[in-house]
C-alpha cells in the first residue's frame, strides 16, 4: 500500500530525546513509503492542497506522526476523501501516547513503523512474560497505596507497604470532607488504614524509604531503610506522656505547618501505626549529642522509648512493584504577587484543609490569624487562635501554579473542585461571610461534579470569572485586584482571608525513584504509564505499576479506581506465576518484525 508519512510538531523544541530528522530518514526507508514530509510546528493545513499532494504521489495510506497527531486527523481524512482514497487509511503514530517521551528515537521510529504497517502499536510492542515471585512492594501509603495493598492482601498475597511518613493515610487523612459528596474523609479512610495496620498479609514499614531496587521483572531485590523511630510500635499505647514532658517543638507536617508538635509526637490521633515517633532533627537529646534531656524515655510508662535505636536496613524480594507516591502541592512562595508568606492571611489549600478540619488546630473553626505578643521570644507573632476573628470576606483563587506558562503548564484537575468544597465549608460554618471564587475555567469534570458546582453557586458563593492578578495591602487592609471578565469590571476588593488553590506537583524524590526503577517521567515529572489509553497502570518496566496521583493529578475516586486496577494486574501475575516483561527492553527491530508479521508484509 503506497504510504505517505507526515510529521507534525506540537512545539519548537519537539519531544525530548527524539531526533525527528532520524525518524524521517527511518520512515523513508520503510517498505511502501513513497513520501515523507515534515509539516513543521502546529501547521495550518489546507485539505485541498493535501489532497493534491496525496493524489500526486498516489498515496493509499497516510500516517500522521508526532506529538499529538490526532489534531490533524480531521483535515487528513477530508483530504483523503477529496483525493478519492480510503478515509480509514489515515493512521496515527502518536509519540506521546505510546511513550516516546523518555524512550528516545528508536521508540518513535517503532511507533511510526507500526502505523506504516497498519498495526496498533501496543499489539506489536507487547512484551513477553517472565516468571514472577509472589511478593509485592508498594511505595507510598496514601489512599492509592492503601487501596492497592488491601486488594492484593485480601486476595491472600503478601504485600510490603513502604511509607516515608510516620503514618499512612497521605493527603486524604488531612481532609475534613471530600467533594462532591461532602462525605467525611476520615470515615472512609480510617477503617482502611486500620485494616492495613492489622492485616496479616501486609508488612507495613512506615518512617521508611526504599533505598535501592535491583533485579529484573518478576524478581526485584528491594532494600529499605527503616529510620529509627525510637519508639516501639508494638508497645506504645499512645498515652501522650512523652509529648507532655518534651521541651522541644517543631511545626507539624501533618497540619501543613500551621500548628506545632513536640519532638516526640503522633501526627494525628488516628495514625496507623498508632504509635509515637521521635524526630531526631528537633530533639534536644540528639542536638546535644546525648548530653541533655532524654526525659521522655524516663517518663514513658511502657518503657518503650529507646534513644539509642539506629536505622535498620531490611532486604526482601518481590515480583511486582507499585508506585503510589502521590503528590506535593505547588510552592506558593514562588508566586510573589499573591503575597504568600508576606500576608499572614493568605494561606494555601492544605492549610485551609487543616483549619476547617474538626480535628485540626482550631477545632474546625475558620478564623484569621491575629497579631499577638510572644512574651518568651519578645516578638509580635501572627497566631492562629481558635477564638480569633472569623473572616468576613473570603477569596479563593484558582489555578495557583497551574495552567501557567511560567509555572506549571498543566491543569491540576482537583483544585476547582476542592475550591468549591471550601466555599461550601466557609458558607456552612460562617453564614455571615461572603465567599468569592476567582477562576479561569470551572473544571467540574466528574460524576456529580457539575451539579456540585451549581449547588455551591446556588448557596450564594460569588463565582467570578477572571483569575486574580495580585494581593496588595492598602491602609492595613488586604485588597484583591483582578478583572471580572463577565461583568467587564475591574475587581478591587478588600478581603480578610485568601485561600490559594495550589496545584499539584510530583512528590519530592520521584526523580530518584524513576532512575532506580528505570522508568520514564513525562515532561511535567509525573510517572509515565505504558500506554495512555490501553495500559494506564503499567509502565515500560515489567512488573512496575503506577497508581494514584503520582501518574498524573487526580481525585480520590480516580485514584482508588486506578489502585484497584493495579491490584488486578498484580494479582494476575502473582496467580499465574508469570508477569509481563519490560517493554523498554524490546528493540526497534523486534517491534518492527512483530508488526511486519502481524501485517503480513
Amino acid at each position: 500500500m503506497r504510504t505517505g508519512v507526515f510529521i507534525v510538531q506540537a512545539n519548537e523544541e519537539g519531544l525530548e530525546g527524539v531526533n525527528l530528522h532520524a525518524v524521517e530518514l527511518y520512515a523513508a526507508n520503510l517498505p511502501h513509503v513513497e513520501k515523507v514530509r515534515n509539516l513543521g510546528v502546529r501547521p495550518r493545513l489546507d485539505p485541498l492542497a493535501l489532497a493534491e499532494e496525496i493524489k500526486a504521489s498516489g498515496l493509499e495510506r497516510v500516517v500522521i506522526a508526532g506529538d499529538s497527531p490526532g489534531f490533524f486527523k480531521p483535515v487528513f481524512t477530508r483530504a483523503m476523501a477529496l483525493a478519492g482514497a480510503d478515509t480509514d487509511e489515515v493512521r496515527l503514530a502518536s509519540f506521546r501516547e505510546h511513550g516516546a517521551t523518555g524512550m528516545g528515537t528508536p521508540r518513535a521510529e517503532s511507533i511510526v513503523a507500526c502505523a506504516v504497517y497498519g498495526v496498533p502499536f501496543p499489539l506489536a510492542a507487547r512484551p513477553g512474560t517472565t516468571a514472577t515471585v509472589p511478593g509485592t512492594l508498594i511505595i507510598g501509603g496514601g489512599v492509592a497505596g492503601i487501596q492497592a495493598a488491601l486488594e492484593i492482601a485480601d486476595a491472600g498475597k503478601p504485600v510490603y507497604l513502604v511509607e516515608r511518613q510516620p503514618t499512612i493515610g497521605g493527603h486524604m487523612a488531612m481532609f475534613d470532607k471530600t467533594f462532591p459528596t461532602l462525605d467525611c474523609a476520615a470515615c472512609i479512610l480510617t477503617p482502611k488504614m486500620v485494616a492495613v495496620g492489622q492485616h496479616e498479609m501486609i508488612d507495613l514499614m512506615t518512617y521508611s524509604e526504599v533505598e535501592d531496587i535491583s533485579g529484573s521483572p518478576g524478581h526485584y531485590k528491594v532494600r529499605v531503610r527503616k529510620k529509627a523511630r525510637h519508639v516501639d510500635i508494638e508497645a506504645c499505647v499512645a498515652c501522650n506522656t512523652c509529648s507532655e514532658v518534651c521541651p522541644r517543638s517543631a511545626s507539624s507536617e501533618f497540619d501543613s505547618g500551621i500548628a506545632a508538635r513536640k519532638a516526640i509526637y503522633i501526627p494525628f490521633p488516628q495514625a496507623v501505626p498508632n504509635a509515637y515517633v521521635l524526630d531526631e532533627a528537633s530533639c534536644l537529646y540528639f542536638e546535644s549529642g546525648g548530653e541533655k534531656c532524654g526525659v521522655c524515655a524516663k517518663k514513658c510508662p511502657k518503657e518503650c522509648i529507646d534513644l539509642t535505636e539506629k536505622d535498620q536496613i531490611v532486604e526482601f524480594e518481590v515480583g511486582n512493584v507499585v508506585i503510589a507516591t502521590g503528590y506535593d502541592v505547588y510552592d506558593a512562595t514562588k508566586i510573589e504577587r499573591y503575597g504568600y508568606g508576606k500576608f499572614p492571611n493568605v494561606i494555601t489549600a492544605l492549610e485551609f484543609e487543616r483549619i476547617t478540619n474538626a480535628s485540626g488546630p482550631t477545632g474546625g473553626k475558620i478564623v484569621t490569624k491575629v497579631l499577638r505578643h510572644n512574651k518568651r521570644k519578645k516578638v509580635d507573632e501572627w497566631v492562629l487562635d481558635p477564638e480569633g476573628p472569623p473572616p468576613n470576606r473570603v477569596a479563593i483563587i484558582h489555578c495557583v501554579g497551574s495552567r501557567d506558562a511560567q509555572h506549571n503548564p498543566y491543569c491540576s484537575r482537583v483544585c476547582c473542585m476542592y475550591s468549591l468544597k471550601f466555599a461550601h465549608l466557609v458558607r456552612e460554618k460562617l453564614p455571615e461571610a461572603t465567599c468569592y471564587e476567582f477562576y479561569i475555567d470551572m473544571r467540574a469534570f466528574g460524576k456529580g461534579y457539575e451539579e456540585f458546582a451549581e449547588r455551591i453557586q446556588a448557596e450564594g458563593t460569588y463565582v467570578v470569572r477572571g483569575r486574580t492578578a495580585r494581593i496588595v495591602e492598602e491602609n492595613g487592609q488586604m485588597v484583591l485586584k483582578g478583572e471580572d471578565i463577565v461583568q467587564d469590571r475591574m475587581v478591587d476588593m478588600p478581603v480578610d482571608l485568601v485561600i490559594l488553590a495550589v496545584g499539584l506537583v510530583p512528590a519530592r524524590g520521584s526523580d530518584r525513584l524513576a532512575a532506580m526503577l528505570g522508568i520514564a517521567r513525562d515532561e511535567d515529572g509525573w510517572f509515565s504509564e505504558l500506554d495512555y489509553n490501553s495500559d494506564p497502570t503499567d509502565t515500560e518496566r515489567g512488573g512496575v505499576f503506577v497508581a494514584g496521583a503520582c501518574q498524573a493529578p487526580k481525585d480520590i475516586p480516580d485514584t482508588v479506581a486506578q489502585a484497584s486496577a493495579v491490584a488486578a494486574g498484580v494479582l494476575k501475575s502473582v496467580n499465574t506465576g508469570r508477569g509481563l516483561d519490560s517493554r523498554a527492553d524490546l528493540s526497534l527491530s523486534e517491534i518492527e518484525a512483530r508488526a511486519r508479521s502481524l501485517a503480513r508484509v
Binding site: 489555578c399 475555567d441 460569588y462 471580572d484 475591574m490
Partner: protein, 384 residues
C-alpha cells in the same frame, strides 16, 4: 445592530506583529496589572477577545490601544505567553493603517520592503529635486549662505512650510477618520459640542508632558520618550521659525544654536538608546521589533548624524562639502517626515493625545448616559 465578524482578522494582525493572540485564555491578569487599565477602558484583555472573535468594527472604534504605553507588565505576567503588550502595539500599527485613507500605511506595515523602497525612492527624488533646482537657478556650490548660496535659507524655508502644510493636511484627514471611527459614527453616544471644548485642554497637556506614560512602574521609557519629544519639538520650532538664524555662519549664533545642540544631543542620545535596547531586547517594550521600527530609528539616526556633519562642515568653512551633506541630510529628513508622520510610526504623535482627548469625552458622555439610565450593576454578582 448586526455585528460583522472577520474570522481572518487574527491572521491579518500577524503581519502587524501580533502572533500569540490565540494563546489567551482570558484570565484577566493583564488588565489587572496594567497601570493604565481603568474603567471604562479595560485592556489589554478585552481587545484580545475582540481579536479572537474577529470583531473588526469594534476594534476599529476602540481607543484602548492608544491608551497603552507598552510598559510590558502584562506580557511579563501573562500565564499563557499571549504577549498582550505586543498585541496592543500591533493594534496601534493596524489602527494607523485603518485611519490612513491612502492605503500607503497598510502597504508599509505589510511589507518592510515596500517601505524601504519608498523611503529610498523619496530620498533619491529629494536629492534630484534639490540638485536640479540649485543648478538651474545658478547656485554656487562653494557658497553655503548669502545671495549666491547653493541652497538659500529662504527657499528652504518655503519648502519646509509647504511640506509641513501637506503633512498636516494628510495627518488631519487621518485624525478626522480616527474621530469618525471612534466617536463620530457611534450613534448611541451623545457627545455635545461643549464636551469637546471642556476637554480640549487635554490635547496640549498630553502632547507636551506625556504625563500618562509616567504612570508606568518603569520610569526610564517615559524619560527617554519625553526627551525625544522635547528635542524634536525644539528642532521643529528652530527649523520652522528660525531657519535663517540657524543657517547664518560660519560663526556660531548662540541664541539659536545652543538650543540646536541640546536638541541634537537629545535626539541622538535617545535614538542610540532605543537602538541598543532593541538590539538587546532590553525591556518588553523593545523585545519585539517590527521592520517599521528599524526603518524609523535608522532614518532618525541618519538625519541626526548628517545634520551634525553639515553643521560642522559649514562652521569650519568647507561650504561645498556642507552643501552636499545638507542634501544628503534632506534625503533622510524628507522621507522621514513625509512618510513616517502621516503613514507610519510618527503619526502616533497625533493619535495618542487625540485618543486621550477622545477617551475623556467618551467616558464622560457614557457616564452621563448611564446616570440617566439604570443603576449600575455590582461587580461579582452571586449566581442565584
Amino acid at each position: 445592530m448586526a455585528i460583522r465578524v472577520n474570522p481572518k482578522l487574527i491572521d491579518e494582525l500577524e503581519v502587524y506583529g501580533a502572533e500569540d493572540v490565540q494563546n489567551c485564555y482570558h484570565c484577566g491578569n493583564c488588565s489587572a496589572v496594567c497601570p493604565f487599565s481603568k474603567e471604562p477602558y479595560i485592556f489589554p484583555r478585552r481587545p484580545m477577545r475582540y481579536l479572537q472573535m474577529g470583531l473588526e468594527d469594534k476594534l476599529k472604534g476602540s481607543l484602548e490601544p492608544w491608551l497603552c504605553y507598552y510598559c510590558g507588565q502584562c506580557s511579563e505576567e501573562c500565564p499563557r505567553g499571549a504577549e498582550p503588550g505586543e498585541t496592543m502595539m500591533s493594534l496601534r500599527r493596524w489602527l494607523t493603517s485603518k485611519y490612513d485613507f491612502t492605503g500607503i500605511s497598510r502597504a508599509f506595515y505589510k511589507s518592510g520592503k515596500v517601505e524601504l523602497f519608498t523611503v529610498i525612492g523619496a530620498a533619491l527624488l529629494t536629492a534630484l529635486g534639490f540638485v536640479l533646482w540649485a543648478v538651474l537657478r545658478g547656485g554656487d556650490i562653494n557658497s553655503y549662505d548669502g545671495p549666491n548660496a547653493f541652497l538659500p535659507a529662504a527657499s528652504i524655508h518655503i519648502f519646509d512650510w509647504a511640506l509641513a502644510g501637506v503633512l498636516l493636511a494628510l495627518l488631519l484627514t487621518n485624525c478626522g477618520r480616527m474621530w469618525w471611527f471612534t466617536l463620530g459614527r457611534d450613534k448611541q453616544l451623545r457627545t455635545p459640542f461643549w464636551l469637546y471644548l471642556k476637554k480640549l485642554y487635554l490635547l496640549p497637556l498630553h502632547f507636551v508632558t506625556q504625563k500618562r506614560f509616567a504612570t508606568c512602574e518603569r520610569k526610564r521609557p517615559w524619560a527617554v520618550h519625553l526627551a525625544l519629544v522635547v528635542s524634536y519639538l525644539i528642532m521643529l520650532v528652530l527649523i520652522m521659525f528660525f531657519l535663517d538664524l540657524m543657517w547664518s555662519g560660519p560663526e556660531i549664533d548662540w541664541r539659536v544654536h545652543v538650543f540646536g545642540y541640546i536638541a541634537t544631543v537629545g535626539l541622538l542620545g535617545t535614538t542610540i538608546f532605543a537602538l541598543r535596547a532593541r538590539l538587546k531586547k532590553a525591556e518588553p517594550l523593545y523585545a519585539h521589533s517590527h521592520e517599521t521600527d528599524w526603518i524609523f530609528l535608522i532614518l532618525l539616526i541618519f538625519a541626526a548624524f548628517t545634520g551634525i556633519l553639515q553643521h560642522i562642515l559649514h562652521r569650519v568653512g568647507f561650504d561645498a562639502a556642507a552643501n552636499v551633506t545638507y542634501i544628503v541630510h534632506l534625503m533622510g529628513v524628507v522621507p522621514m517626515l513625509g512618510l513616517e508622520v502621516p503613514f507610519s510610526k510618527w503619526s502616533h504623535l497625533a493619535y495618542r493625545p487625540l485618543a486621550m482627548y477622545f477617551s475623556a469625552i467618551r467616558a464622560e458622555a457614557k457616564e452621563r448616559a448611564e446616570k440617566e439610565a439604570v443603576e449600575p450593576t455590582l461587580a461579582a454578582q452571586p449566581v442565584a
